[in-house]
Symmetry: C2
Subunit: 411 residues, 2 copies
């Protein structure tokens, strides 16, 4: 695997942006104004390889959802590890990824609005292999006219939704109507089907997710049989980071391996987390006893204890502008004493975040906690997405907290 | 008032970043990939002038909290309108503001950690007038040693907190101990007192906020009388955007006007909002019957209807990565039909956001709603801060939605 990320010594330091080191080479604890977000390189690379192996073992392609990180350097690591392409959600994300060298984008969202179509058309004209989803005749017609005017072909997948869910056709009649409307637009190529199982809930959600995966497979087979698909190996795609094993199983059979392109597209797996997806991983391990290895948390945010105003209370200098706080508040993991290095870490026990404001985190600590103003706390997250978009620069670090690279984001 | 914001024609377009127009000149509806965040210039300038007049009418200085927008072009408009300085929360924010021409920063947070101290010391050495707050002897000693080594004087304010609150000394004994510790550090100059009333709640919160304002005033007077303050007109500062009238009243008397520097520092007022602070404004008007005029909402986010999958449901193409959703979900304000201009807007009634995901907003709409896929919806927010940090570029627009400038942020 090629390391495509520049080390800091070759990058331009930007000390006025959050997360930018003051020195090069840099250590997170000594040379970086905190708060700062760190990605540990070893679990990151483990996760990238683990999920690639997982997809391949099920005969599926992997198109990691890039909206989690919007870090094109991480996209390149995922592609280098064998990913089929990058999944994205918007035209601007698509344009940014393409400008940074990504050659295949699966946009699992409707492409709506003339300016967004311009961005995508320009990228396609410049060589991007691009797919988006459709679920309405109005959108199909708008896309058909726009791309005909541009003399380009647009690949579309029909989105299959669930009743009470998000976007997507609710039933087979709607799918058929939409396929017919697509067929009337020479600029559009219908190449497969797309869905998202993440909204499925209820008493027997596992069975419901399996059934939805099977419905996706049945639908793409029906479309193929009816001759409306304009691709040799039609695409069938679903899966976030919670149920990817069930979708992979639904897509994993000899017929799909030979005649289709099954695509999994989890996003959060790349850095995993310390609570929400950590719990999902436990569930996956429980229902997949043969699974080898597991995802590991790779993202942490570091910040100082700024005040110890009352017994049992620590105020840490970071907040909603720096770290995600949904569905759970940040999780205190380790403490480093003032001027300590990575070897001085102690694991925290009995520390519990209970409130967060824009720039402050409130942590309940044991009455006899060993802590001082100026200590550094490493915090984990529950769901990584809303931490990434707080940072223009995340720091790729090794186990000694030496900064190996600056990971820029394109939000 | 000088218009310090470049018009788009003179700025470099960055079409790969969220919010960047594709053309110049640009109209928000025709030339900008959506979603995009817009600031309406007329209410923005009204708010800047309104709050400046309000502070001056109470004999106070205004140091708008810049963490709301982190848009240095907006800071300059606030300074041009008469603001005393800019309030900020972190060393990196301070360094960014100073690099963009802000000359006086009130950092209402503890300055903790060597790298943060380096950033601030460099800015002070380069001419920045800077203040931070302290609430612990440990931090006072660390700051005293660091700034003595740098041969610089650091202005500090004692933070006065509330029991069960955030940072800050809880009582007079702690204040006195801290003042003594500051006096032992030749590199530190104690110049006033700081507090934050935003956490006060309870049955009679108005009386509690007034009492806290008076406690701040009494404390700074006590410190002045004891001879420990090293500033001719010591600073006393508090106020967010909810209770600013009560703090202004507490600070408004002949003695403070003559011998002190009272500083108000609301942040959200600059663009106000459509719910949380709109409600706070109604409360302020109710308790201040003589108040002339009021703040106006200036920030909206525009996005397309991407799917109408079921009767009564619209899915709009923006989400948590684009707009704040706390304490309330985005508020649907107006609809523009496909390819419509500003004159085609219709006010929305009976539309209600009920769920938000990373890239999707779920809106309950009337069964007979006039709406099509591709329509544009303008959305308001409840609390503006967590919308600003989703954007590197916000668009300053006029009433015709012509883009007057790109407002860059420095998050």
């Amino acid at each position: 695997m090629t390391d495509t990320v520049e080390v800091v010594g070759r990058a331009r330091p930007r000390p006025l942006e959050k997360g930018a080191p003051l020195a090069s080479p840099a250590n997170l604890l000594a040379d970086v104004p905190l708060p700062a977000a760190a990605i540990f390189e070893a679990p990151l690379m483990h996760n990238i390889a683990w999920m690639q192996r997982f997809a391949e073992a099920h005969g599926a392609k992997l198109a990691p959802h890039g909206k989690t990180t919007m870090a094109t350097k991480m996209f390149k690591r995922q592609i280098d590890a064998g990913a089929w392409g990058i999944t994205l959600a918007t035209a601007v994300q698509t344009a940014a990824a393409h400008a940074h060298g990504i050659e295949r984008v699966l946009m699992v969202n409707q492409l709506v609005g003339r300016a967004n179509m311009v961005l995508v058309a320009d990228a396609i004209a410049a060589g991007l292999e691009y797919y988006c989803v459709v679920d309405s005749v109005a959108n199909v017609r708008a896309l058909g006219e726009f791309f005909a005017d541009r003399n380009l072909t647009l690949n579309v997948l029909i989105e299959l939704g669930i009743e009470g869910g998000r976007c997507g056709c609710r039933n087979a009649v709607q799918v058929e109507t939409l396929a017919t409307a697509i067929g009337e637009q020479p600029a559009l190529a219908l190449v497969g089907i797309e869905g998202y199982e993440g909204l499925i809930g209820g008493d027997d959600e596992i069975a419901a997710v399996r059934a939805y995966g099977e419905r996706l497979v049945d639908t793409v087979k029906m479309l193929r049989a009816s001759g409306v698909l304009q691709r040799q190996a039609p695409i069938v795609t679903a899966s976030g980071s919670k149920w990817f094993d069930l979708i992979a199983e639904a897509f994993d059979n000899a017929e799909l391996r030979e005649y289709y392109t099954p695509v999994l597209r989890p996003g959060c797996y790349v850095v995993h987390d310390h609570k929400l997806y950590a719990g999902a991983m436990e569930d996956i391990k429980a229902r997949q006893p043969g699974l080898e290895g597991e995802l590991q948390p790779a993202l942490e945010v570091f910040a100082h204890v700024q005040s110890l105003p009352e017994p049992g209370l620590a105020i840490v200098a970071l907040g909603k502008r720096d770290i995600g706080h949904e569905p759970d508040l940040p999780i205190p993991l380790r403490r480093y004493p003032v001027d300590g290095d990575a070897s001085t870490a102690t694991l925290l026990s009995g520390w519990r975040s209970f409130h967060i404001m824009d720039q402050h985190l409130f942590i309940e600590i044991p009455g006899d906690a060993d802590v001082a103003v100026g200590d550094v706390i490493a915090l984990g997250t529950s769901h990584p997405c809303l931490t990434f978009d707080k940072w223009r620069n995340l720091l790729l670090v090794d186990d000694d907290l030496a900064v190996r690279a600056i990971i820029e984001t394109s939000f």
